[in-house]
Symmetry: D2
Subunit: 146 residues, 4 copies
């Protein structure tokens, strides 16, 4: 996925969101012939990465500045399986932003027909290099809440 | 992990459970220096595998008989991180058994001090080779509910 | 990665090749802070996938027709590490095509400056659903050798 | 895998080696129904980890002391596939030890019948925290060459 495959979208609830589009890789499948359920968790993460790039404050910059977004919770519901070579669209929507953390919601759809494959959410806590919960820096928070 | 590292345990709620013990692999870590959050989801699965072996009806046999346990939901809460080379103990407990599905709960602890690292759960649906929801065969259900 | 990120290229040796471009995902890194060495092996595979799509005979179609490309050998040399969020370019070049197998060569470069990160190769054997070595079907071979 | 599943072995060439034994995890498989070829590369790494533990100088200690073993090359030949739930035995043999690097050879066998599944090798360079090639500390070298 390159930035050309990412776009900012409006959500019904008015939350900021991005959609990224990519093809399923073979190694993401398992012996059931479908995408392994843990692979979607890594796609959620890729959606968050694209979100931070789209708002102009990439996660890689956060890390350079000593802030990590520790994963506190993750959940997923599996509706239909994705398969190798499917083009999928992952929507990552920031559903809540606090001073020390944030929540994301996710939808994974099949590109060919828009079928809903997986939904999910994750909660994140801002921590510093010593692992202590910390406030988002002002500039980061401004970018996140734009 | 071999079977020598697996043991059946009693849970406070009286559910059948197993505990498996293994070391964190390097590739399971990420650039934060800790285990990647999706790796625990694969450990939950390894707990389920060990559970089915321990009850005498391995998941590999279920597959040979045409039954798959599709993952319908998964969730995890992250308390403390595991690190490379840590010995961890994964407990998988069957918290609910129906005629066409089951629910598992999980606890991941650090072997050295018993610290609770991650908790979680998953729901599974029994499907046949055509992907249709199906009843567990009688013998499988007997093994699962023993 | 979508098809928009793939392009057919000419190689000095005149072999058919494609280049695909995508960003490093966080879960592909390890505790050294760089991309785990096994992740590049999955990128080689993604290069092969893109190659088969570019020639009009996607690997997903091969599988539907009962042909699998079993991996017989793989090798990689690591020159410089890729890091999270880097844009990388994977070139997959079909260096040899036989009646029952093929060989690919790979180059992984950093998108920002073209630095060579990893080189490698892989050999593949055409097998049928029973795992027997088999000839490529005529149409597939025609597409591959175009 | 726990340390109980690891043992030091003698090799015909007189090189130090360890064998580790564990079961194939479901997520290590792919849509071909067999273990994905990149998974063996992570098993090689697990063999190296076990090797360093067995000699009394775990890789986790090397890292704490500021030494990393960067992977310079890896290769694998695939003879027969492993499948989910198979017990496999991974032998990691240190075939060469220099002042700044080392080479390992690998054999993966199926536990049930000893069938040879995969062979391979890897080369490693000792680097410090700044990524510079560095001598192994004397104590580490002594442990490695014992």
């Amino acid at each position: 996925m390159t930035d050309a495959d990412t776009r900012l979208v409006a959500t019904p609830a008015g939350h900021p969101a991005v959609e990224v589009r990519f093809r399923v890789r073979y190694f993401e499948t398992d012996a059931m012939g479908i995408v392994h359920h843990a692979s979607y968790i890594t796609w959620f993460e890729e959606g968050r990465s694209a979100f931070t790039r789209a708002i102009g404050y990439p996660y890689s910059r956060m890390e350079q500045e000593g802030i990590a977004l520790a994963v506190a919770e993750v959940s997923a519901r599996y509706h239909q399986p994705a398969r190798y070579d499917d083009e999928v669209i992952v929507r990552a929507e920031m559903t809540q932003l606090g001073s020390r953390g944030m929540t994301f919601g996710y939808e994974v759809r099949r590109g060919s027909d828009g079928a809903l494959l997986v939904t999910g959410s994750s909660k994140h806590i801002s921590i510093d290099r010593l692992g202590r919960v910390t406030l988002f820096p002002a500039e980061m928070r401004a970018a996140l809440s734009r």
